[in-house]
């Protein structure tokens, strides 16, 4: 009989506070690009996420109606985070945010209080438009939203977004859906220092969530090891050959990175350092 590997209990990972929201899971997942609604639901469950992003789109009034995403998701257990994906101007992003809020109010979901702001520069790169993003952040904060802002990994822009009242800044690891992971870890590390380190005017409790570009569990772990508070991803799970299995892997990777980042890694050395004692060896050692 084959013995089953039973891991020991993982130490508790504290919830993530994002504005007025307390998230049990530091992994936030999207609901797009799945084969069907059943797979969407199963993958979200496997990811452990208690917040999921959704998009606002035209009702298909003139063709056949099937089941909608709203029927498939356990809305009593999930906080829905509506996005402004596909917007290329601050004005359009504000319109879409207000529509999303109105929908979530009707559903009685707490997600009506927040929005994932995306103001994109163009359709090819899907990189954020910094100026439009900043304008929309100001407008939405004024309108009472808790704004989680999709941003580039530029630390100075991130600080401006925070100062404009953003609830969280969410730098892209790499372009949306690219699967290239954290392309510039040093830029993310600088951004984290600027936003979180009190010696640089930062606030340790200010939530930074790496959003976009994540392809593999190790990408999630790297983001968390850098000191991110959470990771938001969609395509890395939804387009994996086995999305449900990948969702489990991403959940574990997120926990792994969080624990690793707080366990005090060993210093890097150029040369080796033996794990077994030299004392008591009884063989010839070159050079001795």
């Amino acid at each position: 009989m084959t013995a089953t590997f039973t891991p020991t209990i993982v130490p508790a990972i504290p919830p993530l506070q994002v504005g007025s929201f307390t998230l049990r899971s530091r992994l936030v997942v999207g609901t797009g690009k799945y084969r069907d609604l059943e797979q969407t639901r199963e993958a979200i469950e496997a990811s452990g996420a208690d917040a999921v992003t959704v998009a606002v789109r035209r009702e298909r009034l003139f063709d056949a109606q099937g089941r909608s995403l709203l029927d498939a998701l356990p809305l009593d257990r999930l906080t829905v985070l509506p996005n402004t994906a596909g917007c290329f101007s601050a004005d359009d992003a504000v319109r879409v945010a207000r529509l999303g809020r109105d929908l979530l109010e009707q559903l009685g979901n707490p997600g009506s209080r927040w929005v994932k702001l995306e103001v994109l520069g163009d359709k090819a790169t899907l990189l954020p438009d910094p100026q439009g993003t900043l304008e929309a952040t100001r407008e939405l904060v004024k309108d009472g939203f808790e704004v989680l802002v999709y941003s580039s990994d530029d630390a100075i822009l991130a600080r401006r977004l925070r100062d404009a009242g953003a609830t969280s800044v969410m730098p892209a690891g790499s372009p949306i859906g690219s699967g290239r992971g954290v392309a510039n870890p040093e830029a993310i590390a600088i951004l984290l220092q600027v936003l979180k380190d009190p010696t640089h005017g930062g606030q340790p409790g200010f939530p930074v969530i790496v959003d976009a570009g994540v392809g593999t569990p190790s990408d999630v772990t790297i983001a968390m090891e850098l000191g991110a508070d959470g990771v938001l991803l969609n395509t890395g799970i939804a387009h994996a050959a086995d999305p449900v299995r990948m969702a489990h892997a991403m959940r574990l990777a997120c926990a792994s990175g969080w624990l690793g980042a707080r366990s005090g890694r060993i210093p890097r050395k150029l040369l080796g350092s033996a794990s077994s004692p030299w004392n008591g060896t009884f063989v010839h050692i070159p050079g001795e």
Binding site: G30, T53, A55, R57, R58, G100, L103, Q106, A212, L232
Partner: protein
């Protein structure tokens, strides 16, 4: 009265409120959000908001997204 509904021409006899329109297209009681001429009509104000000639209406919902 000529309206544009989700980008398509839509002919309706007036007077008509947003709520009337939603009833006519089978969307009453279904979660959706409505914008008239790029301005949100909050769901609680649908019965009071009357539509006029040439209004451009968007009826939107939530779909899968990242």
């Amino acid at each position: 009265m000529k309206l544009t509904l989700n980008g398509q021409a839509f002919e309706a006899d007036g007077p008509l409120t947003v709520q009337d329109l939603l009833r006519r297209i089978g969307r009453e009681g279904v979660p959706c959000a409505v914008e008239v001429n790029q301005s949100l009509v909050p769901h609680r104000q649908r019965a009071e908001r009357t539509l006029g000639e040439g209004d451009r209406i968007e009826v939107v919902t939530l779909v899968g997204g990242g």
